[in-house]
Each structure stands twice: as structure tokens, then as C-alpha cells.
């Protein structure tokens, strides 16, 4: 498969536009998680989600995308 995302053309301007990512490493870790879910777990997001829940619970005050990084490190030893 080439991509897990299906979309149609969109013409509305972006609204309430908080940028999704503040830095390139954040979009990278997001995309890496998507790649692992799609190509490593057959599209099942649950294993990653469980790691993310643990990572957030372990350090609730940690910046969000750092929790993603920690979760991915746990998922892919």
C-alpha cells in the first residue's frame, strides 16, 4: 500500500488554524508512527495507542510529541 490516508480535493480554507506541527521532528515522529501502524501492524493502531497511553501516564507533563517519541521507542525496540 502506498498511503493509509484517503482524501478528496478540498477547497475550503484552513480554519481555526493551529499549525499541526511546531517543528519538523514532530511531523516526522507522527509520520513514523503512522508508518509503523500501517506497515508493521497491518493498520491496527491499538498497540501504538496503548504505548502512548502508558507514555503519557508515566510523565503527564511531558510535551505531547515527546510522549509520541517515547511510545514509538517502546513499540519498536
Amino acid at each position: 500500500m502506498t498511503t493509509p490516508l484517503s482524501l478528496s480535493g478540498l477547497d475550503l480554507p484552513r480554519r481555526n488554524g493551529e499549525l499541526a506541527f511546531d517543528a519538523p521532528w514532530q511531523s516526522t515522529v507522527f509520520a513514523l508512527a503512522a508508518a509503523v501502524i500501517e506497515n508493521g501492524f497491518g493498520g491496527d493502531p491499538e498497540p501504538f495507542r496503548q504505548q502512548l497511553i502508558r507514555a503519557i501516564a508515566a510523565e503527564p507533563g511531558r510535551p505531547y510529541w515527546e510522549s509520541w517519541t517515547a511510545a514509538l521507542e517502546e513499540l519498536v525496540p
Binding site: S8, L10, S27, I56, W65
Partner: protein
């Protein structure tokens, strides 16, 4: 050594960790060429609340569509071309004069990506995740969405299986509007349920 073209500052620890993950996963063949760039481009430009706004506008304009949307959110949203990760089981909950719905994820940050994009910062923070369950009326008021006591508040905790989207009430005075005009009225926060239109 002179500066390279790409790196003018040293990598932070987290950047180094992500770079290591990228190298490892690429070596294992899990990251197709161009995948990171493509995902980033889509989430920064194509996937966001404008998708949900189209769904809401269609539901306001087309009563048959609204029935389908409330009966099977995933299928009705797919009619407009939206789907994919975090969108396998989309449930749409309708606001009325008597009921106000709001979504939260108490454990992490589950969110209906195909229709709202990635969640705003406050949605991911512990105070929102805890307080929206414990004291939704007070928190909504603090967020600029005070509700009369007679309005019932329903809090939907996203889970592994289900992602929720709030269908806001159609504002008064919009009778003659086109779908595109209606979509322009719909805000992200109204589809999370922390604002009314």
C-alpha cells in the same frame, strides 16, 4: 568544519531520538520513500476542520444525509471522501436545544483525524482531559461556552474503537445559505463541543 546547508543548530536530544527512530525504521523497510513528506503535507494542508465543516454543512442542508450521518457516521462521512486513520468508527452526536455534546479523550489524545485534523494543544493537556469528565459545565463556561442549567451535557470519551464528532445546531438566520456558505460558519471548537454557533 563549516556549516552544512541543512543544519545551522545542533540537534536537540529529542531530535536525535527521532532521527534514530527514522534511521532504524527506514532500515527495516517500514517507511516508504517520501512517506514522511507526504503525511506532513497532507496534515498541514488538506486534513483539518474544514473537512468536518463540510460534513456538518451537508447535514444541515440535506435531511436525508443527516439521517445517514447519525445512523452510520463512518459511511456518511466516507460519502464526502473522508476516512483513514482514526476514522474507522466515527460516531456523530447531535446538539439540540436540550442536549449539548462534547468530546474528550481521557487516556491519551484520540480524536477524529479525518474530519478535524490533529487535536489542538489544550485537547491533549491533562487539565482538559480530567476536568471535562469531572466538571464539564464549569470547564465549558471557562472556555467561553456557558450553558443554561436546563441543557443536558453529554461527554463522549473517545476510545480505541470510536471517535466522536459533534454536529452543532444550525444557527438561526441561515435559511437561504448555500452549503459552502454554511460550511464557512462551522468552527473546529463547535465540532469538539466546546463552543456553540
Amino acid at each position: 568544519m563549516s556549516n552544512s546547508d541543512h543544519h545551522t543548530a545542533p540537534m536537540s536530544p529529542v531530535e536525535q531520538r527521532v532521527a534514530a527512530l527514522e534511521a532504524l525504521l527506514t532500515e527495516r523497510g517500514l517507511v516508504p520513500e517520501g512517506f514522511i513528506e507526504e503525511i506532513t503535507r497532507r496534515y498541514e494542508t488538506e486534513i483539518g476542520p474544514m473537512n468536518g465543516a463540510k460534513v456538518v454543512a451537508r447535514a444541515w442542508a440535506d435531511p436525508e444525509y443527516k439521517l445517514r450521518l447519525l445512523a452510520d457516521g463512518t459511511a456518511a462521512i466516507a460519502e464526502l471522501g473522508f476516512g483513514g486513520p482514526e476514522g474507522d468508527h466515527l460516531v456523530v452526536v447531535e446538539n439540540t436545544a436540550a442536549v449539548h455534546n462534547v468530546i474528550v479523550c481521557t487516556l491519551c489524545s484520540c480524536y477524529p483525524w479525518p474530519v478535524l485534523g490533529l487535536p489542538p494543544a489544550w485537547y491533549k493537556d491533562p487539565p482538559y482531559r480530567a476536568r471535562m469528565v469531572r466538571e464539564p459545565r464549569a470547564l465549558l463556561a471557562e472556555m467561553g461556552c456557558p450553558l443554561p442549567e436546563k441543557v443536558e451535557i453529554r461527554v463522549w470519551d473517545s476510545s480505541a474503537e470510536v471517535r466522536y464528532l459533534v454536529l452543532p445546531e444550525r444557527p438561526p438566520g441561515t435559511a437561504g445559505m448555500t452549503e459552502a456558505e454554511l460550511a464557512a460558519l462551522v468552527t473546529r471548537d463547535s465540532m469538539i463541543g466546546v463552543a456553540r454557533l
